[in-house]
Each structure stands twice: as structure tokens, then as C-alpha cells.
């Protein structure tokens, strides 16, 4: 067993454990922390797959930005530690159905995967490395790269507009402080 396969099994086991702990947590903040651990372990899996840039994106976007959104939702909802009640009728049955469907789909995908001998050869060189991506980004893809900044600008202005629109009825002078 090579070191990479060993690492895959160790990280995979830790991933399953952290996912289980996330689901079992009664406190939403604890669940969010377990999810951070889950995201970081997924980043390690990307590193095993020789995709360091995807790993960095996984850490920055998922463990960073997405998790901040989750924590904000927890903060804004004022989430108390949750009970094991079933607030929506039949959601457990739905979850079981979803699990069965997912396992069925994954089984089909695994069964149809090409045999090890017929797999496409691994990508050579530094494909997917941050350096290669940087070079491609600033030579062939300069214009789309700048469009990204425009799209982010639109998203930012849109977020500010929508948030302000919601609080138009309040006088900002009175509510401040």
C-alpha cells in the first residue's frame, strides 16, 4: 500500500468521523466547527489528488467564506442548542430516502467507472498547480479574469442595495449607536 493510499484511508476515516460528529452535535456552533474540520480534511484529499490549488480554494472559500455565512446564520437566528424533536413532519423518512438514493447513485457510478487499466493517464507536469493557473490566468484568460472583478463588484453593490432596501423604513440616525 503506497503512502498516498494510506493517507486516503486515514483522511477518509477522519472525514466520516467529523461528518458524523457534525450531525450528532446538539449545539449548532459545535456542528459548524466539525464542519470546518471536515472541509480541511477534504482539502487534504485534494492535495493527495495532486490538486494544490483546489485544496487552497477549499480552505479559503469553504472553511473561510462559507463557514462565515453559516456562523452568521447561527448568530442571526440566535440558535439555541437543538433538541432531537422532529419539527417538520416526515423529515426523517425523507432523509432516509435521500440516503438510499445517494448510495444507489454512487453505486451506479462506481460500477460504471472504467477499470483501473483503462483509466485515462494521470496528468503530467504541473497541470493544476497554482503557478500554471496563474500563468494561464494572466496570458490567455486576462479578459475573463477582469470580468470576474466586475462580477464581484456587481455582487457587492447588489448586496449593499438589497440590504439598504430592507431597512428603508427605519431612520438611520435614530437606530445608530
Amino acid at each position: 500500500m503506497s503512502a498516498e493510499v494510506l493517507l486516503f484511508y486515514v483522511v477518509g476515516a477522519l472525514l466520516l468521523l467529523s461528518a458524523g460528529a457534525m450531525i450528532r452535535s446538539n449545539d449548532p456552533v459545535h456542528a459548524a466547527l466539525w464542519m470546518v474540520g471536515n472541509f480541511l480534511l477534504t482539502a487534504v484529499l485534494y492535495l493527495v489528488l495532486q490538486a494544490p490549488f483546489i485544496a487552497a480554494v477549499q480552505v479559503i472559500v469553504y472553511a473561510g467564506a462559507i463557514m462565515v455565512l453559516f456562523l452568521f446564520v447561527v448568530m442571526l437566528l440566535g440558535a439555541q442548542p437543538m433538541t432531537r424533536s422532529e419539527p417538520i413532519a416526515g423529515h426523517r423518512a425523507t432523509a432516509v430516502f435521500g440516503l438510499v438514493a445517494l448510495v444507489a447513485l454512487l453505486s451506479v457510478a462506481v460500477a460504471r467507472a472504467p477499470a483501473a487499466g483503462r483509466m485515462p493517464p494521470p496528468l503530467t507536469g504541473d497541470f493544476g498547480s497554482p503557478e500554471a493557473i496563474g500563468q494561464a490566468l494572466f496570458t490567455d484568460w486576462v479578459l475573463p479574469f477582469e470580468w470576474v472583478s466586475l462580477m464581484l463588484l456587481v455582487a457587492l453593490i447588489g448586496a449593499v442595495m438589497i440590504a439598504r432596501f430592507g431597512s428603508q423604513s427605519e431612520d438611520p440616525e435614530e437606530t445608530s449607536g
Binding site: 494544490p52 479559503i60 452568521f72 477582469e146 472583478s149 464581484l152 453593490i157 449593499v160
Partner: protein, 118 residues
């Protein structure tokens, strides 16, 4: 390349283990004699009123949204910084344009009072 990431793993394990060892040792060595006064929130001073879980104003969500946008920007800085040595001045200019456009957004949000602590 995998060897370089092994250094990252070593550093991650070290930085995880140092606080765990420190907290674990103090947990193992300290005497455990809990009492009603020891477990109160403040040994002296007023007891807190109400729940510790409070609901925050929904306007704070804007901070999270703005953070997410600048977080996405950071992703583009990473390959740029790594490939910078081979790219030269053109990439520097491109990145300034990129950052400039996003700075416009930040200035807009600032001027609109989106960063005020309501």
C-alpha cells in the same frame, strides 16, 4: 511536491498539538474540587440576566456577504503571487486593475454606510 506538503502537515500537527498538550497537561495536573461558587459565572459581581444566546440584527449579514466577495478575490491573488516571477509588469498592472475595480465596490459600500456598526 508531496514532500513539500509533508512540511505543511508537520507544522499543522505541531500547531495542533502544542495547545492540546498545554490544555491537557493542566487538565491532568490540576486538582478537581468543583464548588457552587467556583462554577458561578462571576465570583464577585452581578449575575447575568437572560440567555447567553442572543439574536443579532439581520443587517450584520451584509458584513458576511462583503467578506465572502473579498475572500473570493483572495483566491485570485494566490496563483498571481505564485506565478508573478514569470509574468512581470503586465500581471502587476492587471492585478491593480482587478483590485481597483473591487476597491470601487468597497468605497461604494463604505459611502453607503454599509460598514457602519448599526
Amino acid at each position: 511536491m508531496t514532500e513539500n506538503w509533508a512540511f505543511v502537515a508537520i507544522f499543522a500537527l505541531l500547531s495542533l498539538s502544542i495547545p492540546l498538550i498545554a490544555l491537557g497537561m493542566s487538565w491532568a495536573l490540576r486538582p478537581k474540587r468543583p464548588g457552587a461558587i467556583k462554577q458561578s459565572t462571576y465570583e464577585c459581581g452581578l449575575e447575568t440576566v437572560g440567555e447567553t444566546w442572543v439574536q443579532f440584527k439581520v443587517q450584520y449579514y451584509l458584513f458576511a456577504l462583503i467578506f465572502v466577495l473579498f475572500d473570493v478575490e483572495t483566491i485570485f491573488l494566490y496563483p498571481w503571487a505564485v506565478a508573478y516571477g514569470k509574468l512581470g509588469l503586465f500581471a502587476l498592472g492587471e492585478m491593480f486593475v482587478f483590485l481597483g475595480i473591487l476597491a470601487v465596490g468597497l468605497i461604494y459600500a463604505w459611502r453607503k454606510g454599509a460598514l457602519e456598526w448599526v
